[in-house]
């Protein structure tokens, strides 16, 4: 069975047709519990997310700030395995029909087996993968497997990426391009600066792929600000924080996710 790369493309195109940016939410699998993660992702989509990224928790999340590190630690203590992550992707897609991506560090994929990971993710109905510590130069083995199984390869670009590298990266990617709004790790920020707008403009000049912006976006007004110049707004830590703040109260946690997704969805619709 081929992955849902095309579904991802059509959802992003649909948002564009509506004259708005898409809303992409992130949560790690295994958090708050292995089975509860699917409910959480469903709540995010019911609340207004168009796309969900499922994090594969890692023992050494070098690119994540304290909020996602905490969630990853909880997920790993819950005993989450790669097979659970793939099952979570599959169930979230089956329940909602939304495109679901996997986001993870490279070592778990390398260890699981690149071909096997791509095949299992596609079989479950996944739409693609974001591998932030796999630079384009090392990515050929993954891209071959992803292409064969109908999965998107979403590369991250950063404000420090020079123009010639942007062209090389976007030429190798598919689905969309993940533009990091700032130089730093994941986490909520007071403001999302002009760096992000400049990076989106530079990225657009190299590709026709949609460009979605992540890192630091946590509320409706930031989402609106970013949606004014990007094709999608990616929110992670703010969702994780809602669940952490609920301190194990499942209903309150899900309500918090729906509420935040609703506010952000409103934000991406009021931008222009």
């Amino acid at each position: 069975m081929a992955g849902n790369l095309e579904l991802l493309g059509s959802v992003l195109a649909g948002a564009k047709d509506e004259g708005r940016a898409a809303l992409v939410g992130y949560l790690p699998a295994g958090f708050p519990t292995i089975d509860g993660a699917v409910d959480a992702m469903t709540a995010m989509i019911e609340g207004g997310c168009d796309i969900v990224e499922v994090g594969l928790p890692h023992s050494d999340p070098v690119l994540d700030g304290p909020v996602i590190q905490t969630a990853d630690d909880i997920a790993l203590r819950n005993g989450v395995r790669i097979r659970d992550v793939i099952r979570t992707v599959g169930e979230a897609h089956a329940r909602t029909g939304a495109p679901i991506l996997c986001m993870t560090y490279w070592n778990p994929v390398d260890r699981y087996g690149v071909e096997r990971f791509a095949a299992d993710l596609a079989e479950a109905g996944g739409a693609g993968c974001i591998l932030p510590d796999l630079p384009v130069e090392e990515s050929e083995i993954w891209r071959k497997a992803a292409e064969q199984h109908g999965l998107a390869t979403v590369f991250v670009v950063a404000p420090s990426s020079r123009d010639e590298r942007l062209a090389k990266i976007t030429a190798a990617g598919s689905g969309f391009v993940y533009a990091a709004s700032l130089m730093g790790v994941t986490g909520t920020r007071e403001s999302v600066g002009q760096e992000a707008r400049a990076l989106v403009e530079r990225t657009r000049s190299t590709t026709t792929l949609p460009v979605c912006v992540g890192l630091g976006v946590s509320n409706a007004s930031q989402a609106a600000e970013v949606a004014a110049f990007a094709d999608g707004v990616i929110v992670g830590s703010a969702f994780v924080k809602r669940l952490l703040d609920a301190e194990g109260d499942t209903e309150a946690g899900l309500a918090g996710l729906r509420e935040l997704a609703g506010e952000l969805a409103e934000g991406v619709r009021t931008a222009r």
Binding site: G65, N107, R111, S161
Partner: protein
């Protein structure tokens, strides 16, 4: 005649352009760090071609560090090594007390060439942190050192030394709270502050070019030792030995001997409580290939690619990865890697102290324990060269507790 001090990768012993030693190495880093890592590589290539860089580094190594370091024969210690002759390369006598200063001074010069004003570093036992804080004081650079919380406790003396030198020391409370987590936190800092910050990486791991760059700055150890032992004994050693955590002192000693086919090259990893207990950090003996901290090498990990928590009595060896060139040397069979337990290392530490008046670091004591075995295997004609990578002052609290050296009465008096 060229100097001993800075002879980067002669005879083509270099990684590929992509930073690979065989199947190991590479550059697995986030896009946000690519420009900075490429800048380090480019600046290093320029420095290698600049005679002024080599001259300035040599001046520092001679007049600040005190190189060349001595080569000391240890006959009373060697009586316990099957009668073989044992020589120690005395990196413990360098300024700051370990080999780490060799690499730090080289990278501090690179930092200045790149126009950066701030340096960050990770440290396990604190030796790299102390050396980095020292160089930052010397060069007038702002300095932040990341150290696992457990290590700040067991190496409290080095924390105080770093602060005395003007560095900020941040105790890292995530994960296993040891060296691996200190590196994670340093990478997080670097991503956010890369414009003005150089990450002064302390071992021969990490993304390309660090494994080659750090090695080149430590090659002086083996280059000197090879010349010294030829002068003293008229022949090459039968075996060279060093402890391996990340592997910087080991590669520094080994590299000059790689072309000498008659010389056995042996690295000693920490077996902790014994590899069978699972409480160890014997990455090359027990790990499997994977990616950690920017390169492919052997890694201690589970079947899902999660890094497993290492253990060693030695904070400097308590790391679940290892430099990619060691992984390559293991796989091609040029070097062998064995594991030494906490207890074996501590016995060797005490033996060297009592027979030769030299208190080694617990890290280096792993190599000494290994050398005792190598000597017995080689017999009375054998000649073993050991890298004494650091001195043991920092470990006195751990050692005194281990051997019960504290005065019971004064303990009680303090209560």
């Amino acid at each position: 005649m060229s100097s001993d001090f800075f002879i980067p990768d002669p005879e083509g012993q270099v990684p590929s352009a992509e930073g690979y030693f065989g199947a190991f190495g590479g550059k697995f880093i986030p896009e946000a760090l690519v420009a900075a890592v490429d800048e380090v590589a480019a600046e290093y290539e320029k420095a290698k071609a600049d005679p002024a860089f080599a001259a300035e580094l040599e001046d520092l190594l001679v007049n600040y560090t005190g190189r060349p370091s001595a080569l000391t024969e240890v006959p009373r210690f060697a009586e316990h090594a099957g009668g073989a002759r044992v020589f120690l390369k005395r990196e413990d006598l360098n300024h700051t007390g370990s080999h780490k200063i060799n690499n730090v001074l080289g990278q501090a010069l690179l930092t200045r060439r790149m126009g950066k004003s701030r340096v960050i570093a990770e440290t396990g036992a604190g030796q790299h942190g102390v050396a980095t804080a020292t160089a930052c004081a010397l060069f007038g650079l702002e300095c932040t050192i990341y150290m696992g919380e457990i290590d700040t406790q067991r190496q409290a003396l080095n924390v105080a030394r770093m602060r005395m030198l003007g560095a900020e020391v941040i105790a890292v409370k995530s994960g296993s709270r040891t060296l691996k987590d200190a590196i994670n936190e340093a990478f997080r800092d670097w991503v956010a502050n890369v414009d003005r910050t150089h990450y002064l990486f302390g071992t021969v791991a990490g993304p390309h070019p660090f494994p080659a760059l750090v090695r080149d700055f430590h090659r002086v150890i083996g280059v000197e030792a090879r010349r010294q032992i030829l002068e003293r004994t008229g022949r090459l050693p039968d075996a060279v030995a060093a402890c391996v955590g990340g592997g910087s002192n080991a590669i520094g000693l080994f590299h000059a001997f790689l072309p000498d086919e008659s010389v056995r090259i042996v690295g000693f990893e920490p077996a902790g409580h014994g590899v069978a207990t699972g409480e160890h950090a014997a990455t090359l003996s027990q790990g499997e290939p994977g990616i950690l901290h920017g390169s492919r090498s052997y890694v201690l990990q589970d079947e899902d690619g999660q890094i497993t928590e290492p253990y060693s009595i030695s904070a400097g060896l308590d790391y679940p990865g290892v430099g990619p060139e060691h992984a390559y040397l293991k796989d091609v069979g040029r070097a062998e890697y064995r594991a030494v337990t906490d207890d074996e290392a501590m016995r060797a530490l005490r033996l060297l102290s009592e027979t030769e008046g030299i208190i080694p670091a617990i890290e280096s004591a792993h190599a000494l324990a290994g050398a005792l075995d190598l000597g017995r295997e080689l017999g009375s004609d054998g000649l073993v060269l050991v890298n004494l990578s650091g001195r043991g002052d920092k470990d006195m609290d751990t050692a005194a507790t281990y051997f019960g050296l504290y005065d019971q009465r004064s303990d009680e008096g303090a209560k």
